[in-house]
Symmetry: C3
Subunit: 279 residues, 3 copies
């Protein structure tokens, strides 16, 4: 991505990522708060469809999206099951971006992948709404801080620098006989099942042929495009973020396999199998 633009406040759009959905006014209220503080703020919806209180899903979406935004973007990520407890509210400054949100791991993969410069503990209540509730820090703390930051307030003004940030690690593939045990990172709106297998990790399997098993279903086809695949058949494909996913053309892989996002009992494995080399 091009990042040659000068790094000034006019180039600090605010990108919102939440699990608030679209049937309530929560997201709208965040925007009202931001515009009340900084009427010229440029607000972008990154996504509000994070699975409810699913830190891993939020962390994943933030991580795969970050690089596509202009330098100076302020990401305000509100997936916050610990709201009202003593989990910290933080602002992370990285090489190219700012990330504002709860310190529960949701910021970690994106922040750590972009060189963390400093972590600020958000303590200066003069930058919060006057009344901070126990249940909606997105409105009362994170949106106000993002707005002030977009208006040019220095990151250091929001509180003291701290030396740590809560980590979140997606599970890595685990060895299994001569293959790997995989896990599901996310399921997208098309029903594609995103796995924790990078294209690089998949390469040797793709070259030798492979058998992937998900619950009782066996998959051994691999295509580079949806269009190349036959209809109504499970196959694996590289997704647009560099990972492998399970897909069905003119179908919905997740519902055909009876898998949903909350499902934790799914077993996915991949093993080499030279019977099924890519044709």
């Amino acid at each position: 991505m091009e990042k040659q633009m000068p790094y000034s406040t006019v180039l600090r759009p605010i990108a919102l990522l939440t699990d608030f959905g679209h049937t309530d006014a929560f997201v709208g209220v965040l925007k009202g708060v931001i515009l009340s503080i900084h009427p010229e703020a440029r607000i972008v919806d990154l996504c509000h469809g994070v699975s409810h209180q699913d830190i891993g899903h939020g962390a994943h979406l933030l991580d795969i999206s970050l690089d596509y935004f202009p330098r100076g973007t302020i990401f305000c990520a509100v997936v916050d099951p610990g709201v009202g407890t003593n989990r910290r509210a933080v602002l992370v400054e990285t090489r190219d971006y700012f990330l504002v949100g709860p310190d529960n791991g949701v910021l970690w993969p994106a922040a750590s992948g972009n060189n963390i410069r400093r972590v600020i503990h958000l303590t200066r209540s003069r930058y919060f709404l006057a009344r901070v509730s126990a249940t909606f820090h997105g409105r009362d703390i994170f949106a106000p801080v993002a707005a002030h930051l977009s208006a040019g307030i220095d990151p250091g003004a929001f509180g003291p620098e701290v030396s740590d940030l809560t980590r979140f690690a997606f599970p890595e593939p685990e060895p299994f006989e001569n293959g790997l045990i995989l896990s599901i990172r996310h399921i997208d709106t098309f029903g594609n099942i995103g796995l924790n297998l990078t294209l690089e990790q998949f390469m040797p399997f793709a070259e030798q042929g492979f058998v992937m098993r998900i619950n009782q279903t066996t998959i051994n086809r691999h295509y580079d495009t949806y269009a190349a695949a036959p209809d109504k058949t499970f196959f694996v494909i590289g997704d647009s973020a560099g990972f492998v996913e399970i897909a069905v053309k003119k179908g919905h892989a997740a519902s055909q396999l009876d898998i949903d996002k909350q499902d934790t009992g799914v077993t996915v494995t991949i093993e080499p199998c030279s019977d099924f080399k890519k044709g």
Copy 2:
């Protein structure tokens, strides 16, 4: 909220509230109409997930969101089951805001809570689209008026001032033995069930201990934060708008209680009960 900004047209964002959902182009068309009239308009989505034709739901979302928007915001609220009848189209100017929409009650709670200055009956068709349909006044009347208003047209130009505005009252709690009969205001995306009980009205019950009954289920726990509550257990909590709601941590209260938004046969009561004081 800070409202110290000068009150000029550049500070008049247009906030859209509708029951149009996100699977059609209705909302997009509103925005196209607005930008056709005022290319510099600043459009914000407040919410498009109002339950279909549910004036009370729209009124509630508008009412709890208003104060978080900057002074001068134009709210364009289109929940309009009476479109095409002789219900009036109105513009309400309040102390801090403008509200545009059908005169069916949807504007009342928000407008009356912010000091109504004048109510304009929208009659000047020069500010509408050239062809006004019988089914989509959001596109043909309300969005155009909001756009012209954001561009600086004086409210008085849109039609004659009238002396009344259709009222809408949320039901108040009713006395019941030594407690109250409550009703459901709304159900949010997390499954939390919002009641018509303010935190102030709830205070004496919270202090003495209470039993709430919803259909056959009994609830006697009260927490200040979601995080403090045990998993998978019904409890009551103050919501971010000053009302009491029924929630379940790591659950979905409404579906677990088999209640949906349209449900009118639900009975909710609260009574004092000193057996269940907050621990």
Copy 3:
């Protein structure tokens, strides 16, 4: 619509139409890409709820929305089942607008209705992202081209002019005894069933009285507004885009008739029947 505004780059909002839904970050990433290239771009969501990979649905929404946008708007339409194949990526310049997307028919009804001036085959990769994936040309090609175009790049810079554009025709009503066989264009969020019958084509039936049959259900009522119709009864009404739809007041016609968007086995007919003249 008013189109008197001068035709300059500041008046080129980018309107996004996709089948990406709202539960992933795909739409957010498109916006990040656009703002990375053109930080001042004015981005509008037309709709992201196109049925998955349904070119006809996308074409319909684009077609009925186009005219409501300001002159110079850049429509970026990404409904792209053939992504990664050799289907062309194109930019269509029409009398009033620019349309960017895959050349699979999705652009045709809107473009051909607004006088096509030239069709550019998008081949100049300097205007794409540096790495073009095989699965997400919305991000890698269409959004970048729309962004550069909004920043003032001349359409001719994106590739060679070509002489054809893939056509897409909605099915026309077919003769049937003394009436017509109709088909379903789309189902909206309210459950209204949009037919391929224009108000003009419906006029003689409306005047003489008619019987419409959809699967086993008979409909003979016609109202000009939802409000005029009785509750819970099927009727036909002109929609806001000039077509006829089947509706139920305080109901959801599609689910009551057990019809969904993917359903292809539905039979709809209309015949004159003087027993049922409009009252």
